[in-house]
Amino acid sequence: MEKVAIIGVGITPFKARYLDKTYFELAYDATKLALEDVNKQGAEITHKDLQSTVYGIYNELFERQFMPDIFINSYIGMNNKPGTRIASGGATGGYTVRMAFAEVASGLSDLCLCLGVEKCNDCYDVQTGTTTPEVLNAIAYSADMTYEYPMGMMAASSYVSMVNAHFEEFGSPTEEQMALVSVKNHGNAIKNPKAQSPMKITVEDVINSRIICYPFKMLDCCLYSEASAALILANEEKVKELKIDNPIWITGVGAANTDCFIGNREDMGRLYSNIYAAKAAYKMAGLDYNKIKEQIDVAELHDAFSGQEVISYEELGFVPFGEGGKWIEERGPMRDGELPCCPCGGLIGCGHAVGATGIMSTGEAALQLRGDAGKHQVIIEKGRGLAHSIGGPGAAYAAIIIMENQEAKK
């Protein structure tokens, strides 16, 4: 297997709505930014040097277009080269990174574009005169259409089921512990100029915000966002040829699909996809599930909902089961804590542009490891970071990417 490095990162601002750009125009912008990022390091490449693309696009109904990837392929000038689309719910981004990794690791491509985009807020609910209910409806078709969609299941009620079951088992996360995630991630976003929802808020603000589905409040939930994110991946030979001094090596990719029917699971208070994806990624990277917190510097987690971030601390092995809530009370995942989680603001701070999100998270972790994260840079000592994606009905899909800056370690 070839070694694979991230040599370019391009992320557009995450915004509530781009009136001045279509999804393929956004994808073009992120691709251009990623190429510029490679060239900032002394290389001279154009889109003509990219040999293939792996696209992360979740939802055709958002884009008002089936097979949106082929239209992007035309717009970004990648005709007559292979392009593969990945769609894995909220985990689309992470899964796309995994498959772009495979494209290079397998030797199929030396230089591959990993490109995610989503533009959801063209959906519009005529009856309320607002956007969100129709965006949520476009997502709700991801629930099982026979048994679950007709019950009014949606993303928040799916995640909250698992969080409530976790609370029944462990007495955690409490509403206050969940609110701390929102305070942290909205706060971290203040230092990220690309974030949609930078806010200085308190636990009380979160608890007093509008109820969405018990016990999630408005500020416990990420906002749907529009954005694109791109990575350029290269094998070792290309890294040398382009004289990239600071490649961020992908050392582990792990993914798992757990049962999408929550009612079929042995334990409803678990996001099993997280556990299996994490163990697979850590094993590949030679890291230890029980000591992972000591082995990495930064984790960009998929905080679609605050309570789910807390459970993820446990399932990704940062703390024992039931102790995620206590860990955030002790400031563990804060910028200055034991293991900073979502220093860019995560989904709650940046917004969730589904296909782009996991690629943004991976790109953000790579920029952190390179020391290029700007005002939200955290301290890098071990040279390793993690990006996490989860989504789909019952959070059935998960993907974890482990990255390493071998220069930083020296």
Partner: protein, 163 residues
């Protein structure tokens, strides 16, 4: 010059005659006879509810079995903000119900005269109530706390099941 965006109104709509395939019997019995059918694996004996006619674990056929119409709430929530298709129904309760004897839990609506978290909590006993007008869909029935059952089936639009 300032940028001016052009927007168009549009809608995507597809009509279906969707077949329930091997699961058809569940919906026919629900519609015609107010029965809830699960399936039992012919090899491991696991009882699937919602039903599947093949056991995903053993790769052997599963047989139809009639289920009890009482069960327990495994987990629930009350929804206060939702999709365009359901926004007129808020607030509504949904939860995963484990029918007595089933090895899996099914998502269903939980109706209650007092829709508060403690009323629809884990461990609460519930019982199925049926719409009088049924179409062979999941919305033909819902669950209510067992102590409210008689009140719900007394309403003109609903009735009890036939176990």
């Amino acid at each position: 010059m300032e940028f001016q965006a052009h927007q168009i109104k549009d809608i995507l709509k597809i009509d279906y005659r969707y077949t329930m395939g091997g699961q058809s019997k569940f919906f026919i019995e629900l519609m015609n006879n107010k029965k809830l059918l699960g399936t039992k694996c012919t090899k491991c004996g696991k009882i699937w509810m919602p039903p599947r006619i093949n056991c995903s674990e053993c790769y052997e056929p599963a047989e139809w079995v009639e289920m009890k119409q009482t069960g327990t709430i495994d987990v629930s929530t009350i929804v206060w903000y939702t999709t365009s298709a359901f926004i007129k129904a808020i607030p509504y309760g949904i939860g995963f119900i484990r029918l007595d004897g089933a090895d899996t839990a099914m998502l269903q609506g939980i109706f209650s005269e007092s829709l508060i978290p403690s009323k629809v909590k884990k461990g609460k006993k519930v019982r199925a109530v049926f719409q009088k007008e049924r179409e062979g869909k999941m919305t033909d029935f819902f669950f209510v706390p067992e102590d409210e059952y008689e009140d719900w089936i007394a309403k003109p639009e609903y009735e009890g099941g036939s176990e």
